[in-house]
Amino acid sequence: MPKIKSNAGCFVRNPNFVKPESDEDENDSDSGVSTDVPIEKKKPVEKRKNKVKDGNKAKKMKSDKLTLDEINEIRETEDLYHSNLFRMQIDETLKEVSLKNKEKEFITKWIATLRKFLNKLHSEDLTHLLKSKDYPLKFKPMEDEKKLQIDYHPPKSLDVYGSFSIDTNIGNKSIVDVLLVMPNSSLKHHDYLNQTFIHKKCLYLLHIAMKLREKETLGGNIRIENFKNDPLKPVLMIDAEDFNIAINAVPPEDFFKLNRFIPKTNNIKLKKGEESVVPTPHYNFEILFDCVIEKNQKMIANEIGSHENVKNAIKLLKIWTHQRQFDSGFHPFNGFIITCYLLHLLRVKKIYPTMSCYQIIRLFWNQFGQSKFDEFGISLCSDKNLPNQPEIQDFFNFYDMVLIDSSGYCNILSMLSVDLYRRVRSESLNAIKMLDNKSINSFHQLFMTTIPFYIQFDQIVVIKYDEKSYHNIIERKASSDEKIDFHNFSFPLIRKLVMSVMRRGLGDRVNFLVPLSDERSNELSIGMILNPENALNIVEKGPQANEPEAEGFRKFWGAKAEIRRFKDGSITESVLWCSANAPFGEKRLISHKIVAFLLSHHFNIISNKINFIGDQFDVVIKNIFNEMIETIEERSLIAIRSFDEVSKELRSLNDLPLEIVSVLGTDAIFRYADVTPPRANAYIGNKKQKLKTNFRAQKVLNGIIQLSPSGKWPDDTDAMRRIKAAFYIEIEKRMSSEFPKTKVHISSDFIDILKNKLVYRLKIVHPKEIALAKEEISKTNNLTKLYRTNEESLRLEVEGTILPKLTSSLHGLHHQCPSFGPTAAMAKRWLYSQMIDSFLWPDEVTELIVAYMMLKNIPMSNSLQPQTGFFRFLHQIANFNHETDMIVVNFNDELQDEQLEEIERKFQKNRNHFPSLFIVTSCDFQNYAIWTSKAPSVNILHRVKLLAQHSIKLIEESFMKLNTGVVKDIFTPSLVGYDLLIDLNQEFVKRHDVVLHNFTNFKAIKYEEKGAPPAGVNFVEKFLNEVREAYDDFAVFFYNPIGGSKIAMLWKPSVHETREFSASQVNGCKLVNGRLRVNVEAIIKDIEIIGQGLITTVEILNEI
């Protein structure tokens, strides 16, 4: 705290910083800048004193003398923390999440009241509550009523425990754990057997709940819930003000003998009187955990309670796990595990209490990333000679992972899924990587960004709950021992069985297979993160047919297993999933096929009981011809390959005056990011029609030609243009003689080439053009020629050098991360469908944002499934703070750190000089901000952000049952709120053979059989260009370039104003009482005039 205060002075010295938005700040500027005015308005007297001190400090700073404190603080930060910024962000966040004193007092008082209340309750027999309809446990008691008999007596003790008691609680709507120690008189010493304790505990809590409901003063919504989603762990939940208070009832310490619970003992006896030897390790854990809570609590409080930095680190780590949702669901990775592990690290002296919390979290991640709970196990118990104490190895016989608590009997990781553990482990390593990456604000990514499930996993399998099929699984697959161990609650067993089959079946196709939270039901959902290297393998290769393992393979894969001979000569058992030349879209879904097969083969779960989430949104980048799977990659690939042929032919032309050095593509298709890559269906047209045609093609693909350098180019743009045209003529001649199969047609400014039924439109670019465009005579001496970047020169530079470089970089990126192209295409399609076309939001901006996320692994390592990539894009847009952050797309780290720092500094200093969305790339050639200088505007940015937030909400709501309806909702624009709707003549609306054609109905509209339009003709685009050029000051036009049949228009606010007459402001205006007002009526008429023949109707929605 004092650190922040001591800087009040520095704010004063930077009056620019004061934002006039809030009234507090206005006060600041009113009262003058010379005196010391702290930012906060409400301040207690105590702070005022500080103010005076600060004032002195400010003066000291001015006199350039550094106080010792300051020097120390600066040095300390450099040494102990990542950076100043990081440290301050940590401080701010901790301040935000930590509980206020007022809140702590409230809880203490609340507990005291409850204690009093419970002590006053009369003793009575509670057994009758078993038959009450409120009784929350759904399973039948194993014992008769006599054994379940319980009397109410006031609890032995009642107190807060867990995070609240050691002050590591986070968040405002936080759960306060309260530990109620049941009185000895209510329990019997054999209650640990056959779930008796669970029922008794439940009865006890239910009784309290009913009594509290009568009273109603302690809080509302009193209910019994399952702790960690485990029905064997009922807790009493009470909402009191901002807190959820969870009361857990436990037996008194040492009431049950702990050695009754060592893993191999049996505590569930199905047959009366018989001494069973079947171990029940999981049941034992459920009871044991309650018995040792107090003990563990004491240990944690003793060893961590006084170490402020360790507690802060725990808070940060809890935020980190919470943001990744590791702490939700059935027995999740929670704060208790973090705390125990940190305690272990303290003990083995990997961390010290004197370390800064930054150092502690860093070491935690480092150590946890290398931990091997599933192989070695750790014990927090210092006593080695307890009666019957099991060895670590004994635990491994029954549990996947081992972390033994202070009592020496309880393995706190008993129920944690090993898959979740592995996932957390890998994310820890990721976190370290992110800390080391200078060019992103890692703090924001690590702690401030929520990473929900739908952006974590490539694919998710949801197995719907169905009692019969769940029962079936148990019957078919579970061993009789397991059935006893998981008696009355088989969900964890099913999860274990399904996971193990899936793990084996998917093998190295997946990096992670994680069971997800399932708050609502017993629905089992499993998230998959695919391994990009193996996930697309079409064959599952098994053991050689004559080896003994072959039998197991055949059994596992059933009828799918076949004996195949491979190219390397081996003959093995194998499973083939799809043909080798299947499209990428299909290959990405092999994992789906495998899962569906395994679930039905092993568990008899039929496909309509399975929801598979992963390819729902692929529909927007599919085409309507190849019904099922073909996504844009295949077509892009065809276009790129044939472009390479064209390029080769052009470069081989010999007798040109200047050699053709390179032919480069600039179209989105060369970056695999074209939403509607053309079909190869172009042909030679007819010149005699009204609209003369050389070629007919769905789309022309743009590229550039670079010639070998020469000093002989003229110094005049007009002459240059003519020389280039002469070149086109020359190229046409040579091509038609040397490669007669490739058809060439030229125009004055480009050359069209028809190859493999695709049309490429190429232009010659020359650096001299750019130089000529920059030329400008100096105004100072009228002699020196200056070279200044201007709009025209930038346009040429983008076309000639920047875009080709970006295209090849992104092309490379796609080969690294094969989901780049389809993801970017999906994102673009989404923007289009919201009527935001490339004029309002340039296509390249979308691509660059996707590239940024992929290069930086934001929010986590790249997904293979474009749908997940698309969700991440939406998430990024929805949460991106464009005011303070910039996007750096640094291919191959071409931009140096110093350069980036420099840009960043400028950006922070003069935010207003930069576009609303600032993107720096290593392809800019120092023309920073080139991509977003014109668009998107602030308004469009906000709109897109809003749309993204809304889409995210829709996805979130229906995530586990995503279907085409959701896709349609997200890809359908709202036409509400516009001022004008312009209906277009369908004849001129460009046809695209993609599904979801115009979003009015979901059926695909077939491409007209008439054939392709003349190459490069698009009247709607012409119209939009004209109206946008003419009326940009007055209105914004919205259009979906993929089959949109309407253009929407919105007036800019300026049209409502009148202004003083001036000759420069007269455009588009009329006189109203001697003042100028925008002539709205005439502009609407103009739109009709400009769009003659194209527009059918203009509908005015809002009269001005």
């Binding site: 930077n14 910024l85 010149k687 002459a719 002699l783 070279y787 009526e1081 769009g1091």
Partner: protein, 264 residues
């Protein structure tokens, strides 16, 4: 007939699209006498009429027809803003290489043959409509079709035109260079012609200046020679550190103001 609105020296007249068009949906043209201190052959003062707020689709030809009702028109020039005026350069008329006109509201200069025409024009109460039976204003699909068709060129015709142009261009260029090269020893850099003036990039100039500066400095100073200098430089380093700290604090404050520290 509408009342002619006046505003200062401007006459405001509606420009109807065609006979049937309504005045309320028409743009207003602002007419005034052309004034300038400079004498110009292009726009002789007294014979020239300035017209403001010409809709984007109106061409020189349209305006010439409209104003020829007042008196014979010598020439019509359209620019999209005053600041772009000096960029206009003479274009060789061409079948294939026409510069694209910006599609914006424009300022027009109508040069009449007779000087009294300007006065008459300013007394007009209405203008003839843009479209009449004889000439049709080309917009929309018709216009774009024509534009598209123009792209499809006859190669040999284009080649001839290019050859002709380049011949002329080379001739002009050659004559300049011959003029300049008075002596074999050097090339005079003149103020006229294609290669007028020095070509120096701004960046080059600033680099040169920097270099001179640096040379001066280097000759004089010896850094960190005295202990006090050493101390000062250390202090300077710390100050920079502190400055960075302060910058960071500002950043934090700005993030904080947006309430970005609530993780959920």
């Amino acid at each position: 007939m509408a009342i002619v609105e006046k505003l200062g020296e401007y006459n405001v007249l509606p420009l109807l699209y065609d006979e049937s068009a309504d005045e309320s949906t028409s743009h207003s043209l602002f007419l005034k006498k052309y004034r300038s201190d400079k004498k110009s052959m292009d726009k002789p003062v007294g014979k020239t009429l300035t017209v403001l707020n010409i809709p984007p689709y109106v061409t020189e030809v349209n305006l010439e027809r409209i104003f020829s009702t007042v008196g014979p028109v010598e020439k019509v020039t359209l620019i999209d803003s005053y600041s772009n005026e000096h960029h206009l350069k003479y274009q060789v008329p061409s079948e294939f290489f026409n510069q694209r006109q910006p599609f914006k509201f424009k300022i027009g200069f109508i040069v009449f043959k007779k000087s009294d025409s300007v006065e008459i024009a300013l007394r007009l109460e209405s203008l003839p409509p843009l479209n009449n039976d004889k000439d049709v204003l080309l917009t929309g699909v018709e216009k774009w079709t024509e534009e598209y068709n123009k792209q499809i060129v006859d190669t040999s015709e284009m080649q001839t035109e290019i050859d002709f142009y380049m011949k002329h261009y080379d001739k002009v260029k050659n004559s300049e260079t011959i003029e300049d090269e008075g002596d074999d020893e050097w090339i005079t850099v003149g103020k006229k012609g294609q290669n007028a003036g020095f070509k120096q990039k701004e960046s080059v100039i600033s680099k040169l200046e920097q270099k001179i500066q640096n040379q001066k400095k280097r000759a004089k100073s010896l850094s960190n020679f005295y202990t006090f200098e050493l101390r000062d430089s250390k202090k300077q380093q710390l100050l920079e550190l502190r400055k960075k700290l302060e910058d960071d604090k500002l950043k934090i404050m700005s993030i904080k103001q947006k309430r970005k520290f609530k993780p959920y």
